[in-house]
């Protein structure tokens, strides 16, 4: 569904890879040389300055021929992101000016969904993911957490709710940057469980985890993972 073609992640680190539907992919990058947000920046409008091509299966021209993302206008590219791709940055990427609840419905409301429907959709999806009954380690229940601003939450909660906000849009491709970095084992397991629940809910979706350390290996030990490296592509069961 997503194809990297001579895609330059960093000077000297090129990626040739294909992200398949229904699979969990882990892309390992060297933390010293690679900025993990590079891909997000590329997809969010920096495409014209980058080296290499990126193809999304759904992006086609009028006669059905695939089109590289570089060729799309900013507006159209945003439309495709909204529909197919979800990003989760290291700290969740939630807007600090809004509460967590407002962050959860922001994207839907921006795309002309009526507030009541957006809220109902968010609650329905969160219930499916099992989030509404979840609290934090201090015993604060989820409904109360939802009314707080992201700056008041710890790294795990910010990242966790960032994940939930992204998954509420039901993207077909989820790209998460360093999802386990700096977290305790229990928190890492909680995020892995969230991803597992989402994959169960959307079996055709593809997940790409961009990591720099070895922490993903132990957390995802029981998962079937497609491992990617810059400059090569190797598969392991």
């Amino acid at each position: 569904m997503l194809r990297f073609e001579h895609f330059e992640l960093a000077p000297g680190a090129r990626l040739e890879a294909r992200i398949e539907r229904g699979k969990l992919h882990v892309l390992r990058l060297d933390p010293e040389h690679v900025n993990e947000e590079f891909l997000a920046r590329y997809l969010a409008g920096g495409a014209r300055r980058a080296q290499g091509e990126l193809w999304l299966e759904e992006v086609k021209d009028a006669v059905g021929k695939p089109v590289a993302l570089r060729a799309l206008g900013e507006e159209r590219l945003r439309g495709f992101f909204a529909k197919f791709v979800g990003f989760v940055l290291r700290d969740g990427g939630l807007l600090d000016e809004l509460t967590v609840r407002e962050n959860l419905v922001l994207s839907r409301r921006y795309h002309d969904v009526w507030p009541r429907r957006a809220k109902a959709e968010a609650e329905e999806m969160a219930a499916l993911l099992g989030e509404l009954t979840r609290g934090d380690e201090a015993g604060v229940a989820a409904p109360e957490l939802l009314e707080r601003c992201p700056a008041e939450l710890n790294l795990f909660a910010r990242r966790y709710w960032g994940f939930v906000a992204t998954l509420l849009r039901r993207p077909q491709l989820v790209i998460a940057f360093a999802p386990f970095e700096g977290l305790r084992a229990a928190d890492q397991a909680a995020i892995a469980a969230l991803m597992r629940r989402y994959r169960k809910l959307e079996p055709a979706c593809a997940l790409l985890l961009v990591v720099s350390g070895a922490e993903a290996r132990s957390v995802l030990a029981t998962e079937e993972v497609v491992e990617l490296r810059a400059g090569e592509e190797e598969f392991s069961a």
Partner: protein, 236 residues
């Protein structure tokens, strides 16, 4: 029947457009609530300025041979026109630079990326509410100083001839009435311009320090020039 359907369709589409605007309004409200602190500061500065002029400057002026009417005009001019300049200083010094800092922090934390990656326009969600907020704050700041000028005029009038209402009040209200819309529109436009100047450099690759220093310098000079131009206009 057709007319009713067209009307119903237009009402629905308008309602949908309003709902979409509600997202931006929610964000704008979040910023404006923060920027509201600046308006509160404007009240304090207006009060301090008024009290300082009334208590300390006004009693000294007769020593320099000023007549009561001249004294009142000098005082009202100072409160009214210096007020605009002070409102500008507050907008630039507090809300403008705070916006620059917030946007710079948002950029460093990849908020522009995350908003764009969710299919939304970062300019619309992160930058424009701040520009509107600054326009509003400058507008409110300007209004507060006008109100202060009217209150001060009442006070001065009482100090001069023992009546609360007199020719000075009539003059200031008349002048205010004439230029009220133009003056507030100008204030809002200046506030929006401050917003654009404060927000635009952050969209490039400049750091917060690189952005803040030139903005402060440019606006300091601009405000001095505005005040000098007003003074010249008043004298002529």
């Amino acid at each position: 029947m057709t007319d009713s359907l067209v009307l119903a369709a237009s009402m629905v589409s308008r309602a949908a457009a309003l709902r979409r605007r509600a997202v931006r309004d929610a964000l704008a409200a979040a910023f404006v609530s923060g920027l509201g602190r600046t308006a509160v500061s404007a009240v304090w500065v207006a009060a301090i300025l008024g009290v300082t002029l009334l208590q300390f400057v006004l009693p000294l002026l007769p020593w320099f041979g000023a007549r009561p009417e001249e004294l009142a005009r000098i005082f009202l001019f100072a409160v009214q026109h210096l007020g605009d300049v002070l409102a500008g200083v507050l907008v630039v010094g507090q809300a403008g630079l705070a916006s620059t800092w917030e946007l710079w922090r948002a950029r460093e934390r990849h908020r522009f990326t995350s908003v764009a990656a969710a299919g939304m326009d970062p300019l619309e969600l992160l930058v424009l509410p701040r520009v509107w907020g600054l326009a509003l704050v400058y507008l409110i700041g300007g209004m507060l100083f006008k109100v202060t000028a009217v209150v001060a005029a009442v006070w001065v009038n009482y100090a001069i001839d023992g009546r609360f209402l007199g020719p000075e009040i009539g003059g200031i209200l008349e002048e205010g009435g004439r230029g009220i819309l133009a003056g507030y529109a100008l204030n809002a436009a200046v506030g929006a311009a401050v917003g654009v100047v404060c927000c635009a450099p952050v969209l490039g690759r400049m750091s917060a320090a690189e952005t803040v220093a030139p903005i402060g310098r440019v606006f300091r000079q601009a405000l001095v020039l505005i005040f000098a131009a007003k003074l010249l206009f008043f004298v002529i």
